[in-house]
């Protein structure tokens, strides 16, 4: 038992603590914080999806919000259509959006459409052998384009004004089916847990190992006979669908969606969360998101409580905190912990080998 516990890496313990914390959180908190934490959990799924791509596979997507927003907008457009929002001037949805005329169809579309977008971007980029910084720049541009696209397609997206829906329902847009903040918290929590377990399983599998190999040395992997392009495409689509799911949940928590959910702003934010938490171990993505989002919420309200003239400096304070973190622990909170543990393991191993007086001991 002791041996088995020893083998579990340190970040899994943090995961356990985090989930225990999340599951008990609403029991002693007020409605406002339950609502805030529901939104943060939706963002955590988003951060996990980016971690699959950036942390494990080494593809730094600077436009991941496109997939988040695509999921959110599917639900938004569907709800607006079904409840005949007052700004709607069209009679029926275009043929490729017809599944949105049913509630379940909208949910499925919210997963499929981001997947398809990821598939097309991926096909184009990976078959063209675009990698590294060029991948990042192209995805960054995509986020900018998506933001403008959504504003321009105002017939369906209500332009820069955005769409409002009934919040806290799982599938519908009717106020009768609205859940309490407490109830909906656990819906989001269940999705987060499922997404987390999926990520763990995926990364434990052989596919996960190949994906890490893509990050470490793509050329060598190719030389060994693998096709990195298809693995990258696979993880991009999975990550895209997950981002779409988080978009849906976020819109359901928030009750509205607008162009900021698809643009460069959110795309950069999620990078910061993952960077601060530490990438490549799932825990970091979740911890980074929760820390920075809670910090943002508390700073904003604390600063305005101290004095009204002081209120505008909360962003400055947040920025300084992020800078300090990135400067002093560039691997992020969890990344640094995991690294420290690894270093100690290596040292112990070395000592053991030296004690045996030879290198042929099998550790």
């Amino acid at each position: 038992m002791r041996e088995r516990l020893k083998k579990i890496p340190v970040n899994k313990y943090i995961d356990l603590a985090l989930f225990l914390f999340l599951v008990t959180f609403p029991l002693y908190q007020k409605t406002y914080w339950i609502y805030v934490m529901s939104g943060i959990m939706a963002y955590m799924i988003f951060a996990l999806s980016l971690d699959l791509l950036w942390g494990y596979t080494g593809l730094m997507s600077m436009g991941h919000s496109v997939l988040f927003g695509a999921g959110g907008y599917m639900v938004g457009i569907s709800c607006a259509y079904l409840s005949e929002a007052s700004w709607i001037k069209y009679d029926r949805l275009p043929w490729f959006l017809t599944p949105l005329s049913s509630e379940i169809g909208a949910f499925i579309m919210a997963l499929v459409v981001p997947g398809i977008i990821a598939l097309f971007i991926g096909l184009f980029m990976f078959s063209g052998k675009i990698r590294g910084v060029f991948f990042s720049l192209i995805t960054l541009a995509l986020a900018g384009i998506a933001e403008l696209f959504v504003i321009n397609q105002s017939t369906y997206t209500h332009g820069d004004s955005g769409i409002t829906i009934t919040s806290r329902t799982v599938l519908s847009n009717s106020a009768d089916k609205r859940m309490t903040d407490f109830g909906f918290y656990f819906v989001v929590f269940a999705f987060l847990l499922a997404a987390y377990l999926l990520c763990v399983l995926l990364m434990k599998s052989r596919t996960g190992k190949v994906l890490k190999a893509v990050r470490e040395n793509e050329s060598r992997l190719q030389f060994l006979g693998y096709k990195p392009a298809s693995f990258k495409l696979f993880i991009f689509v999975v990550s895209g669908m997950m981002a779409g799911l988080s978009g849906v949940l976020f819109v359901r928590v928030q009750g509205s969606i607008n162009y900021t959910a698809i643009g460069i702003n959110l795309a950069t934010l999620v990078l910061v969360w993952v960077a601060v938490g530490g990438r490549g171990n799932l825990t970091g993505a979740m911890v980074g998101t929760i820390l920075l989002q809670v910090a943002e919420t508390i700073l904003n309200s604390t600063f305005s409580n101290i004095s009204a003239d002081f209120a505008q400096y909360w962003k400055l304070a947040l920025g300084v905190i992020i800078l300090i973190i990135v400067f002093f622990i560039p691997k992020g909170f969890v990344g640094t912990l995991v690294e420290a543990e690894q270093r100690r393991k290596d040292r112990n191993r070395k000592e053991r080998i030296l004690r045996k007086g030879g290198v042929n001991g099998n550790g």
């Binding site: 406002y32 332009g159 508390i298 600063f303």
Partner: protein, 402 residues
């Protein structure tokens, strides 16, 4: 040794999270004791103190504080002082929803004053409906089906464009070139203008909608010059933020101002003072310019300049003034409620409420909860002030759904 470090990590992370949350809890209870002090009425103020529209909203925020301080200095609302909580929504609709929920659930405010962008207003409307808290929205905007929980103290297109376009046709030119940022606001304004221009026998020479981050207009200016030729035209411009300032500067640098005149809803005192020469000779249209000669306005500007300095008083704008009105109207409505402050009463008491505002007497329309106000056309002078060249003879009924 190894295992214990793991447990330390586990314990540490748990402790960290719990203390973190303890901190949030503390903030909450502190607010609760403050709210229960009984002899104050708590309202929420939501403005972008950071973010893209912070420049425009600074004047709104200042005016709101000014009005609150004036009301409190004069004895408050029926003896109760106004207590306010300020929140920054950083020009982001999602943050707006969050801070409005914070105000309602944590701070227990009776009413909220603020918001500037349409997207943030639309995003918080469901929250207002869910928790039944009134919002006084002080910005002039494109018009919508009035929300029962919102009171609008800015003007709507029928109180601007319906008077602006005819004035420009009579006094400047019958040819119009429309340009705007691709937003719901500009497209509604432009559609309204197009209908009006055609029905009055003018020509729409062209229309251009640009994305909100456009700051390079040489091709647009060349196009305008090409299509209008020597006949000249009015450039009906609804570019917002940086886009607007870039257009004015580049247009003035192109040296076309003899033949072409820019007319814009977004031109106000903050723009005209910031732009300097580039704004001179262009037209503006809104319900308030700070050159209005009323006693209330003199008093307002004097108080503003005492509180924030003479230079910032020169840049007092229509949204600032309507925020000032918003706070005063809200205080009047709260006063009428007496001891029985409920959302229904607050909203009902807004019906037909009048206020002797800096812009002249305004009245709340009971059907739409918008205000009756006077339409004014202004011309930017050499010193950056805006001279009123036309005003409608009586306050105009608001028609937000027109």
């Amino acid at each position: 040794m190894k295992k214990s470090s793991k447990f330390t990590a586990l314990l540490l992370s748990l402790a960290l999270l719990i203390t973190g949350v303890g901190a949030c809890g503390k903030g909450t209870s502190g607010d609760a004791t403050k709210a229960s002090s009984g002899d104050t009425i708590k309202i929420g103020l939501v403005f972008s103190l950071t973010g893209g529209t912070a420049i425009s909203e600074q004047c709104m925020y200042n005016s709101a504080l000014l009005a609150i301080n004036e009301i409190n200095a004069a004895g408050g609302i029926g003896g109760k002082k106004i207590e306010y909580v300020v929140k920054d929504y950083a020009t982001d609709a999602d943050t707006a929803v969050k801070v409005v929920k914070d105000l309602i659930l944590q701070d227990n405010v009776k009413a909220i004053v603020g918001l500037y962008t349409s997207s943030s207003r639309i995003a918080v409307e469901p929250v207002l409906e869910e928790y039944k808290i009134p919002l006084v929205y002080p910005t002039f905007y494109e018009g919508e089906k009035p929300n029962p929980y919102v009171v609008y103290t800015g003007c709507v297109p029928n109180q601007q464009g319906d008077y602006f376009v005819p004035y420009l046709m009579d006094n400047v030119s019958k040819n119009f070139y429309l340009i705007g940022t691709d937003t719901t606001y500009a497209s509604i304004i432009n559609d309204q203008a197009k209908t009006l221009i055609t029905s009055l026998g003018g020509n729409v020479i062209g229309e251009e909608l640009v994305s909100s981050d456009t700051t390079e207009f040489s091709d647009v200016i060349a196009k305008i010059k090409d299509q209008c030729g020597d006949q000249g035209c009015v450039i009906y411009c609804n570019l917002n933020g940086d886009s607007g300032t870039s257009f004015y500067t580049q247009f003035s640098a192109a040296g076309l101002s003899d033949n072409y005149t820019i007319a814009s809803f977004i031109m106000d005192e903050s723009f005209s003072t910031a732009l300097g020469k580039a704004a001179v000779g262009t037209y503006a249209c809104v319900n308030y310019f700070n050159t209005i000669d009323t006693d209330a306005n003199t008093k307002y500007l004097k108080a503003y300049s005492d509180a924030y300095g003479a230079d910032s008083a020169k840049a007092v704008t229509a949204v600032g003034e309507s925020t000032y009105d918003a706070v005063y109207l809200l205080s009047k409505s709260l006063e009428k409620c007496g001891a029985d402050i409920t959302t229904d009463n607050i909203l009902k008491n807004f019906d037909d409420l009048t206020f002797d505002a800096p812009q002249g007497t305004i009245q709340v329309d009971p059907d739409t909860h918008h205000i009756y106000c006077t339409a004014r056309v202004g011309l930017v002078q050499d010193d950056g002030t805006i001279k009123i060249v036309y005003q409608s003879d009586k306050p105009i009924k608001p028609e937000p759904t027109k």
